[in-house]
Symmetry: C2
Subunit: 318 residues, 2 copies
DNA sequence: AATTATCTTTGTCCTGGACAATTTGGGCAA
DNA sequence: TTGCCCAAATTGTCCAGGACAAAGATAATT
């Protein structure tokens, strides 16, 4: 009998659900409401906030604009129309990238791949990726296809032209292709040096960069041990010790604050033995502002062979 | 000049870091402090909490005991010795599993694999896993080896016999083997039905269960589309629509609170078309307390073939 | 132009109170 | 004993509104 459902099935989402959906912390949602007058959730019987779906959508758009560099004071509180206008007007993150790949390139066109993503055709995309990988060699595949394509996907998402789930699916497929490639490579270099431990810090859940690095390093004759993403600092130090790693390699994106990243690196550098190398890379600008003591910052994946060569110079016994 | 380092290199972790490390919400940490007198963090210059490493360790132990069914009032506030005693006294999570695999079984022994994990020998472990997979068939490999082994690893971790990084490495290797297997299977069933969309909700970052499900379902002739982990609710609904999914399958662990999980499922069920199935599984006890309207709870991976068969019964046109 | 100092913005943390949902334990009937 | 129901205790999450440090923007100086 009755009491089937609280009836107010869509009176709106509670604040915890909005935090999950938008990635905006509960404290942030409350303080925006106080300062900018948006969002303006309804209240349930207990006085708790209930966010209507439309406001959640607007929050998601705002989130994208913030990721693109806008400041909250300018965009929170704008209505949907103004937000959409801003979105379309965003300057591309990588104006150079597009220019660098003129039409007529015989590479499998980025645009074609983007179209396959937007067409929700995973099989076609997977085939295209595998085909490209076999055709152009692993290093070129990564440097000339995966890197620019990932940038393009990120940018398309920022502009609202791709949904999050489309980016997720793209990431899954590329990961699969890269893992395949690594698996095919690994047996040859099981005991190569340097022995490199790969992972990311807690908070950093983006593992695609890690896979690309693992593939390129394996190609350079290193033996790679990947712990996946989000390993606590203490465990990284422990793992480096028990696996006799010559180098710890970490990948970053810009999701975390630069300060936090540098602080973590400082602590990790202290906990690692001095002779263990610490290589860092990824799209986190704080890594490259100034040289970090005892840390090798790798700006671009194409610099990796050089870094490995450098290591061999400094460790001639291997 | 000076100002090289704040000197207080390890005055303790801020509350946000403890939340990440332990999975305990900031609000919970504060309310425990108020009610039970533990934890009792130091304060930095600004009056913010700084948790010493020892307290964080104790919190992690407490978290494990809570997951094992203890109540906060009984365990928060016990000293380390009492906690350890409780921990060792915990009934094993899977008393049956050990009994079900008597010595002399010709299976690659779980113990041998656990030893390989503890010995930090990834190559041996990978070879053993691959060998087992080829020898026993994919379904048996998953149901009889990977599932009990993962349980054993989780339990060993809970008892403090394995470090997090050892679990991470194990997960990476098993994931690799499973992905390999799926890749070898997939081409045969590209358009099989049901077409199943796999992912996890935001907050749930454990993807191994998802891989096992994908493998078993592919084996049953389904075509699987995996979005990886942590897809927002709205995107799951969108993705199900554009990919013409017959079923959405979600995997859970016990890291999130049961209430939050059920609330999310309720919302998702509303947003999905009625004819789209919603299958859920994993080690989150809230899923199995009572039947959920419009949701199929799969208690064990070995039930999957039955669930697929059931689906075919109800959709004879496929 | 480049660097430094000052003002603004913004996310996170704080306190202490409240409450709803779950769990526990007792009382009572079968 | 077992099963069921209600009161009491437990427990996680939410709230308000204040505070502040880090980061960004702007102005002043070299």
């Amino acid at each position: 009998m009755s009491r089937a459902v609280p009836a107010a099935a869509d009176a709106g989402l509670p604040i915890a659900a909005v935090e999950r959906e938008t990635g905006l912390a509960k404290d942030t949602l409350r303080v925006w409401e106080r300062r900018y007058g948006f969002p303006q959730p309804l209240r349930d019987g207990a006085g708790n906030r209930r966010y209507p779906a439309a406001q959640v959508e607007r929050l998601k758009v705002i989130r994208r604009l913030l990721d693109a560099g806008q400041r909250p004071g300018k965009v929170v509180g704008l209505d949907s129309a103004a937000l959409q206008a801003l979105l379309s007007g965003q300057a591309p993150l990588t104006p150079a990238a597009a220019a660098r790949l003129p039409a007529g390139s015989e590479l499998p066109s980025l645009q074609a791949m983007l179209d396959a993503i937007a067409a929700h055709d995973p099989q076609t995309l997977r085939r295209a990726l595998t085909h490209a990988r076999l055709g152009m060699g692993l290093a070129s595949f990564i440097n000339e296809l995966v890197v620019p394509l990932s940038k393009a996907v990120g940018e398309a998402w920022m502009r609202g032209r791709l949904e999050i789930f489309e980016e997720h699916l793209y990431t899954e497929l590329v990961s699969g292709v890269l893992r395949d490639a690594i698996a095919g490579l690994a047996p040859a270099v099981e005991s190569g040096r340097p022995r490199i431990l790969l992972t990311t810090l807690p908070q950093e859940q983006h593992g695609l960069g890690l896979l690309m690095v693992a593939a390129l390093l394996t190609l350079e004759g290193c033996s790679c041990i990947s712990l996946g993403t989000q390993t606590p600092l203490g465990d990284i130090a422990l793992a480096a010790a028990v696996h006799d790693a010559d180098v710890v390699a970490l990948s970053f994106t810009s999701v975390q604050s630069g300060t936090a990243v540098l602080e973590s690196l400082r602590v990790l550098r202290i906990r690692l033995p001095g002779q263990t190398g610490l290589w860092v890379g990824g799209s986190c600008s704080a890594l490259y502002h100034k040289p970090l003591a005892g840390i090798t910052a790798v700006r671009s994946l194409s610099d990796l062979p050089g870094v490995v060569a450098q290591w061999h110079c400094e460790h001639p016994q291997h």
